[in-house]
């Protein structure tokens, strides 16, 4: 009796989870499938899940006629630079806030913490005006520099570096090591788990970021992928297949990255409860 009940329960639970999982996955499957469809197959009802005549035409069009390589390259350059700079500067500041003793340290750190709570929209307009004044609209610098600041990353690195014992640093100091040596030879190697966590989140966040590039990259040559996609959706409103191919190109790198590094991602989320 109870055994039967528990089997039914097992079936119901896994059924519910499977249906939910299907809802999560279907948009992706449909996107990939449609991106390989020729134009005449798009509006077929009922929809076909596997293209009857698969074609690469949409991808070829995207790169040859619409020059999607350019926004792709832009996004790689911008996200890559933001990640490297943010990780470097955040870990340096995190190290100083965790291990250096200086006047005003706690006050400065509180100031940094306070900025985490301010919504991004608060800074967009003044930063836009500032960059416009400096002629940095439509430049890589304009896309990268304002986005490389992350109060959260500083906070996260400081918390991690606090757990590294002082004795280790003191011992090295007695042997005559300078702060630069301590940072590169002791702190960084011991902080790899934290560094990779913020690197993953920073890269994903900047790959997906939209509002800032939308404002700064007004010239077609500076578009990042999300901006290019939003423009594509406006201009090629009727050509579904090419839009799906474009979406695939934006989504696939991060998705593959996530599936490879999923442990790190999920652990990082649970650990920090962060949102990017």
């Amino acid at each position: 009796m109870t055994k039967q009940r528990s089997i039914i329960q097992q079936i119901v639970v896994h059924g519910v989870l499977a249906i939910g999982a299907l809802v999560m996955v279907v948009p992706f499957v449909w996107m990939v499938s449609t991106s390989f469809k020729p134009a005449q197959e798009i509006f077929v009802v009922p929809p076909t899940w596997i293209p009857s005549q698969p074609t690469l035409k949409n991808y070829v069009d995207l790169f040859q006629n619409l020059d999607f390589a350019r926004p792709f390259l832009n996004t790689v350059i911008v996200s890559g630079s933001i990640t490297v700079l943010s990780v470097l500067f955040s870990s340096m500041a995190g190290f100083a806030f965790a291990k250096f003793r200086f006047r005003g340290r706690n006050a400065l750190f509180m100031l940094i913490l306070a900025t985490i709570m301010v919504p991004g929209q608060m800074t967009i307009i003044p930063v836009f005006l500032m960059l416009r004044h400096l002629g940095l609209i439509n430049t890589y610098a304009g896309l990268i520099i304002p986005a490389m600041v992350s109060a959260f990353n500083v906070f996260f690195m400081r918390q991690y570096i606090l757990t590294i014992p002082d004795d280790l640093l003191e011992a090295a100091k007695i042997d005559g090591a300078k702060e630069g040596f301590l940072f590169f030879k002791i702190i960084l190697p011991l902080s790899v788990p934290a560094l990779s966590t913020i690197a993953i989140f920073t890269f994903t966040g900047s790959w997906n970021s939209f509002l800032w590039p939308l404002i700064i990259a007004q010239d077609e040559r500076m578009y990042t992928l999300p901006v290019a996609i939003s423009v594509l959706a406006g201009q090629y409103g009727e050509n579904l297949a090419i839009q799906m191919a474009g979406s695939c190109i934006v989504i696939a790198p991060i998705l593959i990255f996530f599936i490879i590094a999923q442990r790190k991602f999920l652990k990082g989320i649970a650990l920090t409860g962060m949102k990017y």
């Binding site: 097992q10 449909w30 009802v45 500067f89 003044p126 600041v149 799906m244 989504i251």
Partner: protein
């Protein structure tokens, strides 16, 4: 550790300078801009902007589009937040069961939408929600239901946006709930079982109270995140039809970067900031620990 000033400057300098230039000063500047008439003419010559006191704010209060945008945004928050919590917590509890198989796989699959680019997946959703060729209406058709014009009908446009928002948010919150559930000591459940507690009683008297810290964090993040709704309506509906999906940030974007009414847009930003702070504080107040 005693450190020379030179080293402090080297290590803290870059991050601090960037933060002051791109966060602290702009936040102050936002307040300053919000009391000026900075517009498209002032763009080329900043001296063309004048102090106008609180005119922007009084204009805001009598601007029907602002109220509409605020109503829409709060509508999204009020519906999407409980939906996200209930679904994410439900899934988390099902996955966290001892006897559930493929936990790892389910976790990854439910998390996929969260790491996905909102703009790109919104393009996909706009076709899923298409009245004639969309997957959703095709699916409803299988049951003999003729689906509505999701994105074109003001009644269904916001629910469509909420669908996408919730679909994207479930995975992230689920991971946090799983972490929270795993922190609940099992002896509490064992003790309750000895006392003959039902599953429902265990949920209400053990799981929910023990999840309070997670719940506080999750809902606070959601309040902040959902009130900044922008990409979904920008891509799916451009705020339409009849402004039924115009959100506060979308309106801010329009005023600021379409019409270049940057003073007015700054007032909007300040208003949004205050709204977020007030709602977050109310949320914190509500959850003063009872134990």
């Amino acid at each position: 550790m005693k450190t020379r000033f030179y080293w402090i400057l080297v290590f803290v300098g870059p991050a601090l300078a960037a933060m002051i230039i791109f966060l602290v000063i702009p936040i102050i500047a936002s307040f300053v801009l919000s009391v000026t008439d900075f517009n498209v003419y002032s763009l080329t010559d900043w001296s063309q902007a004048y102090f106008i006191g609180f005119d922007n704010f009084s204009e805001l209060l009598s601007d029907p589009l602002f109220w509409q945008a605020l109503r829409n945004t709060v509508y999204c928050l009020v519906i999407a937040m409980p939906l996200t919590v209930i679904i994410a917590l439900g899934i988390a509890m099902l996955i966290n069961r001892e006897k559930t198989y493929c936990k790892g796989l389910f976790r990854v699959v439910y998390f996929l939408p969260f790491v996905t680019n909102t703009v790109a997946i919104a393009v996909v959703w706009s076709w899923i929600l298409n009245m004639h060729y969309g997957l959703l209406n095709w699916f409803l058709g299988l049951f003999g239901i003729s689906g509505p014009n999701w994105l074109g009908d003001p009644t269904f446009s916001m629910p469509s946006i909420i669908m996408l928002v919730v679909w994207k948010a479930i995975g992230y919150n689920m991971i946090l709930f799983i972490a929270g559930l795993q922190n609940i000591p099992t002896f509490l459940y064992e003790a309750a079982e000895l006392d003959g507690a039902t599953n429902w009683k265990k949920f209400v008297h053990i799981t929910l109270p023990m999840l309070r810290p997670t719940m506080l964090f999750v809902t606070t993040m959601m309040i902040i995140g959902y009130l900044q709704l922008f990409e979904e309506p920008y891509m799916l509906t451009q705020g339409g039809p009849l402004n039924s999906t115009l959100s506060v940030v979308l309106y801010l974007y329009r005023q600021g970067f379409r019409f270049f009414e940057l003073g007015y847009a700054s007032a909007l930003a300040v208003a949004l900031f205050l709204i977020i702070i007030v709602i977050t504080m109310v949320r914190m107040r509500l959850s003063k620990p009872a134990y």
